[in-house]
């Protein structure tokens, strides 16, 4: 049964703005810890720039490895925001309310972190701007719009801009609450950002429409982004990659890892900010049910990719799958991948007790993302490492310390971004919580009273 505590507007303001307007001592400890994790990546990147890309374990033909794996992983995580926010908003799912903003914020920081990877990968990253925008008016050399490497920045830029503006537009009413409850420089800061919001019927009507309209606009972008990321592979000639199923397979995989990341984040936020009144077991239950559907859909596409790869019995394709499944170290990684991405989490999620346990949902969602990171790695490296016909040189890939630093640092960057956002802005939408209280009702059915929601 759903729990629905009755909360006054004053209590909602106090509890959801507590961390924004007051700084507990533990804030500095967590900030330092996340700063250290991010620092590992920062040092790795500085070392890379100072020394050159040779410090990575990449060598011909494996010129993409941890960096592109991490890139695809973080773009995948970024799909959480739209999946949760837009789809649940459009379907008016009541349980979306405490989840939407954290999911949207995760989208922005995950996407920004992902976008850094190709830039870092080129070594002299300050020249990456030349790829993206028309340049060099003197020599007349222009970016090749036929390359998927040009499509990527255009899709990511659109998605990042759209998601950031989406967050801001739905944040305005909560900024007004922060303005009303703060003093001094904070009042000025939130006052400027709130743009003079008053909360009249016109503004609320437009705010509601904004949520629906922007959700509808961002959804097609969300599908396009990971489809285009899949084109980076599917439109290459590398065997093991040029699969017609890659676009939907990537999109559904992104949703699988993204929704799992939202579950992880919600568990952390609930524990860290004591949000027990807002992030409740029934929210995890709903997330778990959603994960079950998405997880099975993802596994279906994984099987399709596997079957299509083998069915034609094309020699190279078969050998790449052999390498993925039977050759060391990919065989060990493949087993861990299957266990963590599907075999363990899906049966666990079928259990109601697991879905309603915050600890178990945290652990299960972490498992899923370990599996999904490995999925991208197994997809990319064995295919590149395979010795093609007439290939004059090839080597195996061994990740080096700076690459591990980059991966760890990327987690630190996303966590730090979300944490600082939660310090400056309410991470749970305040007005959405109040709206749910306005529309809450209790329905008596026989001898029980069931919490319900009235909808226009």
């Amino acid at each position: 049964m759903q729990e629905r505590p009755v909360l006054s507007d004053r209590q909602i303001n106090r509890e959801l703005l507590d961390f924004v307007l007051h700084t507990p001592i533990w804030f500095w400890g967590v900030l330092m810890l996340l700063g250290l994790v991010f620092g590992a990546g920062f040092v790795a990147v500085v070392y890379l720039i100072a020394t050159g890309v040779g410090v990575w374990g990449e060598n011909w033909p494996v010129m993409w490895a941890f960096e592109i794996t991490n890139f695809v992983f973080w773009v995948g995580i970024s799909h959480a925001g739209v999946m949760i926010s837009a789809i649940l908003r459009l379907t008016q799912a009541e349980w979306r309310r405490p989840v939407t903003r954290a999911a949207e914020v995760l989208t922005v920081f995950a996407l920004a972190t992902a976008a850094l990877h190709p830039a870092v990968h080129v070594g002299r990253f300050w020249r990456v701007i030349y790829w993206v925008f028309p340049y060099d008016f003197f020599r007349g050399i222009w970016p090749n719009v036929r390359s998927p490497l040009i499509w990527d920045p255009s899709a990511i830029f659109t998605y990042l801009t759209g998601s950031s503006l989406f967050i801001y537009s739905v944040l305005i009413p909560d900024l007004a609450v922060a303005r009303d409850r703060s003093t001094g420089w904070r009042r000025t800061f939130y006052g400027i950002l709130a743009l003079g919001w008053r909360g009249n019927p016109r503004q609320w009507r437009l705010q509601t429409l904004a949520g629906i309209l922007l959700s509808g606009l961002i959804l097609p972008v969300f599908v396009s982004v990971h489809s285009i990321v899949s084109f980076d592979f599917a439109m290459a000639l590398v065997p093991g990659w040029h699969s017609t199923v890659f676009a939907p397979y990537f999109v559904i995989g992104a949703v699988w890892s993204g929704v799992a990341a939202v579950a992880t984040l919600m568990a952390i936020l609930r524990f860290m900010f004591k949000l027990h009144n807002y992030i409740r077991p029934d929210h995890f239950d709903a997330l778990g049910r959603l994960l079950l559907v998405v997880g099975n859909a993802w596994f279906y596409f994984f099987l399709l990719d596997f079957i299509f790869g083998l069915y034609a019995r094309e020699e190279t394709e078969v050998k790449i799958w052999q390498a993925r499944i039977f050759e060391w170290p990919f065989n060990a990684l493949f087993v861990i991948f299957l266990l963590t991405a599907y075999i363990l989490p899906v049966p666990l999620l079928m259990m109601r007790s697991v879905r309603r346990s915050v600890t178990m949902m945290f652990l299960t969602s972490v498992l899923i993302n370990i599996g999904m990171w490995l999925e991208r790695y197994i997809l990319i490296v064995p295919a590149l490492q395979y010795k093609q016909v007439l290939q004059f040189s090839w080597s195996t890939y061994q990740p080096q310390l700076p690459e591990w630093g980059l991966v760890i640092g990327s987690f630190g960057l996303v966590a730090l971004g979300v944490f600082l956002f939660a310090k400056i802005f309410p991470i749970i939408p305040i007005y959405e919580q109040k709206e749910s209280q306005v529309f809450a009702a209790e329905v008596k059915v026989g001898k029980v009273t069931v919490p319900g929601v009235i909808r226009e």
Partner: protein, 177 residues
Amino acid sequence: MVVAQRQSLLGIFPTAEAAAEALDELGEKAGITPDDFDVLTSSPYPEGAFGEKPVAHRLYIFPIAGALCGFSVGLLLTVGTQMAYPLITHGKPVIAIPAMLIVMYEGTMLGAILFTILGILFESRLPSFGVGLYDPRISEGYVGVVVSTTSDKVPVVERVMRDAGAADVVAGPPRGS
């Protein structure tokens, strides 16, 4: 001829029901119409909950205009860069339409999103410099009713608001003459 000064009053009501009742009374006793009042709340209420006029807006025009602008920019960018450096590969046309579609699609969507945000701000009358007659208690669940009336009706409006259960009534400065 002397025109009466207009003045705004903000009544702070503890519940939405009290605010709606006050607005009914204001209509009957002080001739206040939906054009004369605004309701301030800390969360959205169903349209018409306070007897206000339905909100008229043109928000839907903005994404369409933005999409057209974004499509045009995408088209110019892709055609322009290919024409500027005409690279013929395998005798295929210089203008590669399938590849262009992707950048043009993203441009279209970006334009639509940017214009929608502008539309939301414009139609919400934001940014507004200063919040006007307002009370921070509104963000704590109180419902604010702002009534704009002529100075001679101010005592009636204030009395009706207090009788209907207003926790407080604040008067703004008189304006106009």
